[in-house]
Point group: C2
């Protein structure tokens, strides 16, 4: 599969996080000739917080993570992720697989099973051949290295065309705290509470409740504001692990919260840039809504509209479809106060085509790989920004025969 | 454009409705070399009722129809429809165009302007060159014929690949009442309250309030249960005209209401069969939901899922994506009670792949042009049935460059 035209030039150089080591293996869960399991081991004292899909059919691994999130267990911890099989809708056998992986990982690492967090991503409804993962555990343990987060980013990919990573450093009281994270995701992207598989590591010192509050808050404006295809995964998981190795306390620290949000947004936008079949990156900016909830409704209605997304794919400045998406969103709207722009070009104002509208100028703008669709409803103070991509033949190619 | 593979073999032979005459013209609103305006004239005593889109950005013609629906005006009436331009999001100029068309039509026919109902369908946001329609009025009047409903069905098409018609006869107290209707619609189909442009005629005798109640009730289980692409039009309109020419009173008559519903469902399903790029017709049957609202949420979540629709296009029995769509719908669901079937083949029961599941048998079923996706939630008595089509390269082809 060709790399997305919206991919970054290269995978970023991610800093090592004191207290975290990584390893990957070719377990052959489904794919051949590539890594498909990653293990991250966190030193004793690490705190892990997460947000997860709200799907009513969420996977066995998600249910297990939710049960373990915030438990008072201490000591070292681990995150084990496989690609190729999501272990979702696999009934009681699915839970058995998660328990087997957790128990074996705990035993080989000498840690508590409730400190092992697992994720699975890939096809839904097939039993997970977890014995293949168990068979790789010894090699994974032997291969643990502090500088291998880039290999971990590759091992968790499914239809992704590039690995996704982001990092930040924060100055807290004159000391440096470091954050590094990885993500996977390309299709079935319309996160509800969290998205896809995302693992973020920091050497900050923080208690679970404070970290959980930061992660939940940051997810709202980052992972919960992206959509590729309006379809919400059964496996969406964001885990943030703080090892405390820096000794720098960050509970309630605004600079740290901002840096964490920045890393989460960076990873979220990389997921959109790897949207299945994507050739255009689209930022939808809504202002003037009656309230923030209405602004989000309008932004998501535009971002999820197949007609808007195909028009962008065709580089067609079809703002009539934006009008349609505003109209169907369910949010309060008044045609005669509505204004629409593509980038900085106003195409419609006060319920009508802008008198200065230039088809040539707008068509030229649509050829850019990164586009802004702006809508002002003229009613109130509500704003929202969401990110999406276009809908192309590539999406059909990828999804008309993914399972086979 | 090739005719949809799901099209009926031929346009049905529709009966003439006493009291209704039709004419069409090539006004050149946007298209060249084809008819693009249709006029239906209803004899004095006719009653017209309708349901319309709830879009917040509905078109000028829809707003005008809603204002006129149920007014006490009497005498002859008219319905005038153009294709090629929807006169939506055209500000105050849009309302001016509707008023000009209504006034001119009323004058040439010698009827009250509030008895002229208009619709426009096509591109959004372009001023309607209504003077081209006015120039065609004299020819339209001269061309009125009782047996020309088939030409009317063709004049209102946009991206439709075939004209859509349906009829029924009802025995009421030993006398015969006849119903005949036409529709257009292919993309931007996710009706909310009504759909697309639909015109139904009957010689039944009925008062406006009774007819309106029947039309609104029938829309719920017909036009409001179809979706092509989840995008709701700014122009959706269903008008039902009863001329009373049969002299048969049908207010409150169940047989007539059923026949009207049947005609509406037939037309609604023809719209799905002409879904943009469609190669598969899909009926989604949901049972066992906590209530009817939840059943509809689940059915629409499946029917609007790009991943389910592309899987069907690829003839892939990807029931995992059905699980996903159930999970994201927001309806109450319990993985371990959920059962899924394709046609009569159960693929999953009690939260797991059915033990008798046969990949070969299911894959063979997916090659049919008409498919049933069945979901039983195992929770209550709520049921819903909705209809949709697959998502193919054809949809991208049609919509990546429709406006230009």
């Amino acid at each position: 599969m060709a790399v997305s035209p919206l991919a970054p030039a290269a995978f970023p150089s991610l800093p090592a996080i004191a207290g975290v080591r990584f390893a990957t293996a070719e377990a052959g869960v489904r794919y051949k000739g590539r890594t498909d399991v990653m293990l991250a081991v966190l030193d004793a004292g690490s705190v892990v917080a997460g947000v997860f899909t709200r799907s009513a059919t969420r996977s066995a691994a998600v249910l297990d993570c939710q049960a373990k999130n915030g438990l008072p267990a201490t000591g070292a911890a681990a995150i084990l992720v496989n690609s190729g099989n999501s272990n979702a809708f696999t009934g009681k056998i699915g839970a058995t697989s998660v328990a087997a992986i957790s128990a074996a990982t705990a035993e080989i690492l000498g840690i508590a099973p409730e400190r092992v967090f697992t994720s699975s991503t890939g096809v839904i409804g097939e039993p997970l051949p977890h014995e293949r993962i168990l068979a790789a555990l010894a090699d994974l343990k032997d291969g643990l290295r502090a500088d291998a987060i880039d290999t971990a980013a590759r091992a968790i990919m499914t239809t992704d065309t590039f690995p996704k990573g982001a990092s930040a450093t924060v100055n807290v009281g004159g000391k440096t705290v470091t954050i590094a994270g990885i993500a996977k995701g390309s299709g079935m992207i319309a996160p509800d509470m969290a998205t896809m598989l995302v693992y973020i590591f920091t050497d900050a010192l923080i208690d679970h409740a404070s970290l959980q509050a930061m992660v939940s808050g940051s997810a709202d404006g980052t992972f919960n504001c992206i959509t590729v295809d309006s379809d919400t995964s059964t496996s969406d998981t964001v885990l943030v692990a703080a090892t405390g190795a820096s000794g720098v306390q960050v509970a309630g620290n605004d600079a740290f919260a901002t840096a964490l949000t920045d890393v989460m947004r960076d990873l979220a936008l990389q997921v959109v840039r790897d949207g299945e079949g994507a050739t255009k990156f689209i930022e939808v900016q809504v202002s003037g809504a009656a309230d923030a909830a209405d602004a989000r409704k309008v932004a998501m209605s535009i971002a999820n509209s197949p007609l808007v997304k195909t028009a962008v794919a065709g580089e067609d400045a079809n703002w009539g479809r934006v009008v349609m998406a505003v109209g169907k969103s369910g949010a309060a709207a008044d045609r005669d106060r509505l204004a629409i722009r593509f980038g900085d070009i106003w195409v419609a104002r006060e319920g009508y085509r802008d008198p200065a509208y230039s088809e040539d100028e707008t068509s030229a703008y649509m050829k850019n790989p990164e586009l802004v669709i702006g809508v002002d409803l003229g009613l109130g103070e509500g704003t929202a920004t969401v990110w999406t991509c276009d809908l192309t033949h590539g999406y059909i190619d990828i999804n008309a025969d993914y399972r086979s």
